[in-house]
């Protein structure tokens, strides 16, 4: 078990190393273009040369990469061109805002999708199962930007219940969080529900469930005590991996609702070629995704003894 965890962590570190190399090559392969991005399009060649020399860009590629990586790991992400401030100062508050958004999305999405998935999978093919399955296909087919438009049209334009944007300029406001969370939940819950349903339906066909039913246990007890424990192993992995999807989803939702989060920051940095901010955002996004992937693998092994002792 310890060896397995160590292996997974080493693989994750190697993945992050390759990702950092790819990012570095994509964005900093030619020092001249870095200077243009930092100093702006109207800088003279002389200015660029001075900047390159002052910031160590005249050294060979590999020594630049190692220096960059060293500074990055120690938390020095460089200066943001657009915000005229250290990247770290811009980044952490934005990441916190996205964490708040993600927390509430998961706090609503997980109980909802597990409950619906179990209800649907309990009696495969029954009326309730059909309704839940079709609903989850339909909601998964409406991408975030479309459900954001449709929900704003109904709740903001038509009913006037909620504010249409969520910039949170005058402090934290619950009402501004409702629509972003709703959009993310609506797109994400269908997939988890379907996975839970499939897992539940499979467990319900197992011989030990039939045994429990035949010895006369009430249905509620069969489901809660016998089926659920095995049926919830697969959804655990699916839910953990949803964090990767959520990182894509928040970009769209934060852009649409003008929420000051990490996804909007990444998009803004990319559109403005704010090179050091892009690097930091992309590395953090991949780090979160890779870390949750590793956690999902390890958690799955812990939860499923058949794999742990194989």
């Amino acid at each position: 078990m310890v060896i397995f965890v160590a292996k997974r962590l080493a693989l994750m570190a190697l993945t992050m190393l390759v990702v950092s190399l790819l990012l570095f090559l994509l964005l900093e392969l030619t020092p001249g273009s870095v200077a243009t991005k930092v100093l702006g399009p109207y800088a003279t060649d002389e200015q660029k040369q001075l900047w390159l020399a002052a910031n160590g860009y005249l050294e060979p590629l590999w020594s630049r990469y190692i220096g960059w990586l060293g500074r990055f790991v120690s938390g020095d992400f460089g200066q943001s061109i657009r915000f005229k401030a250290p990247v770290a100062d811009v980044l952490w508050p934005r990441l916190w805002n996205t964490a708040v958004l993600g927390f509430w999305t998961f706090a609503i999405m997980i109980p909802l999708s597990l409950a619906l998935g179990v209800l649907a999978g309990m009696r495969e093919g029954a009326g309730l199962d059909r309704v839940i399955s079709v609903t989850s296909i339909v909601t998964t087919s409406v991408p975030e930007f479309a459900s954001a438009v449709l929900l704003s049209a109904i709740l903001v334009f038509w009913l006037g219940l909620l504010p249409g944007t969520s910039p949170m300029t005058s402090g934290f406001d619950w009402r501004q969080l409702v629509l972003p969370v709703l959009v993310l939940v609506l797109y994400d819950f269908g997939y988890v529900t379907r996975m839970t349903r499939a897992s539940m339906a499979e467990v319900m066909t197992m011989p030990y469930i039939r045994t429990a039913e035949l010895k006369g246990l009430p249905r509620r007890r069969v489901v809660v005590r016998h089926a659920l424990r095995n049926a919830l192993i697969a959804p655990f992995t699916v839910i953990t991996l949803q964090i990767n999807w959520l990182l894509s989803g928040v970009i769209v939702v934060e852009y649409f609702f003008a929420y000051k989060g990490f996804g909007a920051l990444l998009l803004e940095a990319s559109l403005n070629q704010d090179i050091f901010l892009i690097e930091a955002c992309a590395m953090i996004a991949v780090f979160v995704a890779a870390a949750t992937q590793t956690a999902a693998d390890i958690g799955y092994t812990v939860l499923n003894p058949r794999i742990r002792f194989a």
Binding site: L26, S141, V149, L150, S152, F157, I251
Partner: protein
């Protein structure tokens, strides 16, 4: 044509149905077994018909600026015709832009998916069949690319190489091929130990021939289901890129781009964004239902 055998005509009177056509007809009747798949296929077919006949169906020129901010159903003041779905802030007819926009998405989504499949299948066959270091390397690279949140990858690639039709296809291929490779690799690992592969190897057939002719056709079932799902995702991707302003350059209509362009005024004039949203969601729903129905059918036998 498929009923020719039942009408009592002499068998030699008609040329036999070519094998490929008969198989296509056979799979169409198989589709009839799942009502979900039929509905999905119907929605997709609807949009394909719209895309093909766009020049005849669209009431106006999609890029002509006629009458700004017209409500749905308003009549064209300076000429004949009605804006059934209204116009946008530049005065372009939304229905016509939706109809022409279906061409954009139904060209780029299948094109990008097909290219991603060609590359993903090649990589997956090589990794699964040859195993060894080729497998290790390809699988590791796939893991690295798949560890990116997918939209982060698209934004990085598109903002670096620029937004154009070709670059969108390149970005989608880059992001989807590793996932396809993983699926193909898994299927090949299972199929490579079958007897008919061993027989082909004993006959001395070349490796590429075994992979493409012996293994690949037997892996088609799960791949067809995955392709339908993936088409839905690619439609979402093209829509998202258009919505974020990273899609096809204006002015030609593109559903995601239409939503993005109308966003500043959307809270006052919802019809400008709602109709493109319904269009794109219905197409994605079509692909998802088709995939779901096909999976159901493939599990049945």
């Amino acid at each position: 044509m498929s009923r020719a055998g039942g009408t009592g005509e002499p068998a030699g009177a008609q040329p036999p149905t070519p094998g490929a056509l008969r198989r296509a007809l056979g799979s169409l009747t198989l589709l009839g077994e799942s009502p979900v798949a039929m509905v999905g296929a119907g929605i997709v077919a609807f949009w394909i018909v719209i895309a093909i006949f766009a020049p005849w169906l669209a009431p106006f020129d999609p890029n002509a600026t006629l009458q700004p901010f017209a409500k749905p159903g308003a009549a064209y003041a300076a000429g004949a015709g009605t804006f059934w779905l209204g116009t946008d802030q530049l005065g372009r007819d939304i229905l016509s832009r939706l109809i022409w926009g279906s061409r954009t998405v139904l060209f780029y989504a299948p094109a990008a998916t097909a290219i991603a499949y060609a590359i993903g299948i090649g990589m997956g066959l090589a990794a699964g069949y040859f195993r060894g270091w080729a497998d290790e390397l390809l699988s590791f690279l796939a893991n690295v690319i798949l560890s990116f949140p997918v939209l982060v990858l698209y934004i990085l690639v598109i903002t670096t190489i620029g937004a154009s039709g070709l670059n969108i296809i390149i970005a989608i291929t880059f992001a989807s091929a590793p996932g396809i490779m993983r699926i193909v690799r898994g299927l090949v690992l299972d199929l490579r130990n079958r007897e008919y592969v061993a027989a082909a190897r004993t006959r001395g057939e070349a490796a590429w021939y075994i992979m493409l002719v012996e293994i690949l056709p037997n892996a088609r079932g799960p791949l067809i289901v995955d392709a339908c799902l993936r088409l839905g995702y690619v439609v979402i991707t093209i829509g998202v890129l258009g919505f974020l302003g990273l899609g096809l350059p204006p002015p030609d209509p593109d559903w995601g781009g239409m939503i993005n362009e109308a966003r500043p005024v959307a809270l006052a004039f919802p019809h400008m964004t709602v109709f493109p949203c319904i269009a794109i969601s219905s197409l994605i729903l079509g692909f998802n239902l088709l995939a779901d129905g096909l999976r159901e059918i493939s599990l049945r036998d």
